[in-house]
Assembly symmetry: D3
Homo-oligomer: 248 residues x 6
């Protein structure tokens, strides 16, 4: 099967990091293709950047989504995820929702470790919007983020692991999620250093997308995720505009 | 004081309807100026259109917000409201949040009447995101929406009032909110026909914005609503891009 | 417009403090008149004193409420607020509810700072009764209250500000509410010393009351806030008794 | 042991009805003494009457509480219950809280049947204040209340039973509570006609009070239910005033 | 009346400890008989042991329940309690549910002190399953459990009391529950050392069972606690199998 | 990979039905082996049968779990699931939890259709125990269950589909789950007849188990899902007893 990984921020370096980990995580037979947002911020940390990224995700899926079996909104925080499910018929997953759903099967107290305070706020709000904050015992954040987002994993490795250990010791976390697309792969690499199951978003999203594509659920014809009726639109990219107003 | 009313959809007719009611609702001494989104859909009904509108609201505030004392995100559903508060220092209110906050003082069981099912879903999700769904005993919707959104108030008047009466009779609503920017003014006009306090978003937003401006709260320097640090950005309108990356 | 400020405790000194701040906070054209409870305790800190004050608030509104456009139950904790709304047709607000509703528009994490532990318990229970405790990340209290309730603001100023700063630093408060009628005005005076928006009850109540009076919501004929039917009563003050049993 | 049953409304006829059922429900060796509120309404149905009754309950306990082992606030809705626990050292129970606590052991879906809509609203709010509304699947009310409150049980018997059967059939109630002090005894008399366990407040309160007195919990010296410090008071009955200001 | 105390673990020493305290706690006229689980673990601390104990409780009630008026599932954590109520017609209570229900009448902030972390997890989950975790401000646990479960009360006395005091000081507990069947009686013995009401499960369960038996609620014929229809079964003890498949 | 499907009831016919659908749902390369409970009821509908089945699931996993990569507790309602995760190191999933987690990605309003009322109650309680009832808008049940549980799918097909359509029409369900192991496969067969995504437990559990095995999470050494310490046990099957007391 072919999965499209959409990076909602504008950094192609980050796209590369995430696509590489997605390929490492995928089953044999799964092909990963990647796309980067046309507009927005270098990386996404707050409500402003997430609002713009939600639009950018729809824009990218409209441009690159033809012919894929499923898609991944590849920023932890899942900008535009619910909107994307409304506009497209293929299974679409997000990094944070996937990690939280997988975490559900592994423990009852879950902690997310974030690179910055502001990311932590966003992740907490996204968990709440997903209705999946009920087992979140903490969202921890580093005092300072990365100097180069494309090398965040190496730069922050020791501090993120230290924070994960605090989540276990002080918050009683039974599952730890290392939140943030740019640090994809760290959960796998650090498994021996953290005494509870540790997840990241990219690998969970890839495996969950595979499961969903395998289940072949039919697209809804009813309810709030059915494809919306056409409506006049203006000022959008050509592929996205066509999906919305469907004018010839 | 001067308040900016931003219409998050692209219909200037709807902008006119809402600005007119805002002027009728305002205190003496309050000036209303209005702006319309540069891009998006004719009106906003679902997560796709709301995601795009959130970006458009930031875009419009960046372009038109200089010199105003406060602003109104003038679509019920409040697209981009929290993001806007993060990016701008003036008080900013939304139609749905304002109506729900005012409703809090008038009863304990509240119902929103929406023009369409899909709007109802959006309104319910916005109430939940605001943390203000605890008193919402129902969200009711008409079976069919307006044929012309700019004349929705007249076209749907009788059906909306009938639905409001059902909210009182069947759901025990103690306050009714007629949701939707395009029907601004109907709550005032129909007060005699509905036996409980009835609100709409525009008038509540105007009066609440006046109260907030009068209280002169200081902008936050801490927390998730403090102005975010600058960050490289691409593909945004010039005024919005300057607010985000602050490059000279 | 004319607003009646009812002090639910028996201290006329406290009435003066609150009325003075109400006048400072009001719009031009708003007149504030004040009344003090006929019976009860010197100030209100616990469920016993609040239960008695609820009765005293109804008693005072019955005696002094003729001819006013709106009223303020002027003790943080809002004793008798819901009952008052059931018995009178004018808009009535409380200090705590008003401050919480205004706080909703300014941040997502709110903290109340109280003069004593026992006040803190009362404020927390009132927030819960109002259905507005969802964003309350802490209620902080001083170790010792004022020696003279009428001079509490000056006596406790430094300690209240210190506690507000802890709410920001340790609890992540994005809005701080300085709870308690007797310290009205401190939020305004301390705005420069606390790095997030800071509110008190009196100013929020005045501005919110003005907004409500301006919106002219109709009194309910249905639901639990409609005026109750007459019923025989005994042992009440003459004005209150007449409102309940309406015997000639 | 000796239990004081306090009727929070002013009807001595209702006091008699409730005391008689309390005596029928008590264990051998339990003596029931009864008192009636000095002021308030004929019976209690709404927030206004409940606010006044809360004061009246404290007043009656202060006057009649000497020498008893426990007390019952004998109006379903439990006016002043938490305040009373703060002011007095003996175990005190309320009708609604007792019925809900007993219901907890008998099923997971509970319904309250009330004599009037307005009583139903009060009962629902009291359940929520008690933190015991989580299993309440419905609060049902008759279309019209009694013409004579002291004969309510006989007058409304058939209609209350019919409503209880609807609670089972339509709401899936596994336990039914017949709410309202004046109908005490009906649950016992109607047990054969309702196919699930059926409770009323008076019998549950008596048996729960006996259990509490038997357990001899020590009065709290800490927390919000410890006896409050003395404070100047004015305008209260002599016994209540003495409890609050403790002036000689 | 005759009450059956069922120990869900296999230690007859623990059965003795609990039965002795039950007899000390009971009213005159209440007879306590005791039974011990046929299979399972020495004591119950986790989901595995609780799952097995739930079966063992049904097994023991089937074998020993004839002729008793009520029963007590005598492990804090209440294994099999809801299932037992479904299968038997007499009132049945559990230690934890009983202590929580009694605590409801004594304060609004409750803390459970457990002998080990893992017990604490179980107690918290049981409180949540009962729908009674709303007032639980903490569940505290000792760093190390007893070396001999049958002498736990004496071995752990000082440490449990120290932890209870921390619950009051640090968590603001207004009621403390000393959780765990083997330490039955400690709450009574330590009442003078802990400044708030302190409960244990056995005494609360005995008194609550007496109250329930006294109320004589009828068994349900409807709902999920009505006796289930017969169904073929295999591999169960003879008394339990007969209750389930009712084959002759 | 090799997955063990454990049927918690004693019907080998039902085991066959579920194993066959599991094989149809699995990816190429996944082998399904099946086991049936040694003791319990013909099928599981209520708390009594579920309590016994929880023990039986642990018993069967202890006997048959060697050498498999993951396991499925194959009764909707997931008896013993959390306990099993505590005792075994491989990924273990349940039918209901899996279906709910997959449903999370497909809509926001979910309905479960059950074969009988009593199953519906069990499913609702299991969803709540899982912390996954937040999106459950209804649990619907047929008026009468199957006459032969092993042929339930064919016997009830039309009635289950009719109920699913009502869930969409009357409850606004956006995803439907056909609950119950014995009807595995119906969701797939009925996809064209129900206008929203429709799931069953077996296929979701198989695909989710594959995803989990692929993610290779490490077993916890900390928290409530770490393998419990050894403890003396009695009366258990030899394989289960050895896992618990680890005596040689």
């Amino acid at each position: 099967m072919k999965l499209l990984l959409v990076n909602p921020n504008i950094s192609t370096d980050v796209t590369e990091v995430m696509a590489a980990e997605a390929r490492r995580s995928a089953s044999a037979g799964t092909e990963i293709v990647a796309a980067t947002a046309r507009f927005g911020a270098l990386y996404i940390e707050n409500r402003v950047e997430a609002a713009i990224a939600s639009h950018a995700v729809l824009d990218a899926l409209a441009e690159h989504g033809a012919g894929v079996d499923g898609a991944i909104v590849s920023a932890f925080g899942d900008p535009g995820l619910a909107a994307a499910r409304e506009l497209f018929d293929i299974p679409i997953v997000g990094l944070e929702e996937s990690a939280l759903l997988i975490a559900w099967t592994l423990g009852r107290r879950c902690s997310i470790v974030a690179m910055t305070e502001r990311l932590g706020t966003w992740f907490r709000e996204a968990a709440r919007e997903h209705g999946l904050d009920g087992r979140l015992v903490s969202v921890r954040a580093l005092a300072a983020g990365p100097s180069d987002i494309a090398r965040a994993k190496d730069e922050l490795r020791d501090r993120l692991i230290a924070e994960a250990l605090k989540a276990v010791d002080e918050d009683g976390a039974e599952v730890v999620i290392l939140g943030g697309g740019p640090i994809a792969g760290l959960a796998r690499e650090a498994a021996d250093q953290i005494p509870v199951p540790t997840l990241d978003g990219v690998s969970c999203a890839v495996r969950l997308a595979e499961a969903l594509v395998g289940l072949t659920p039919r697209p809804p014809e009813r309810g709030s995720f059915a494809r919306p009726p056409a409506k006049p639109a203006r000022g959008l990219s050509s592929p996205l505009g066509k999906l919305i107003d469907r004018a010839p």
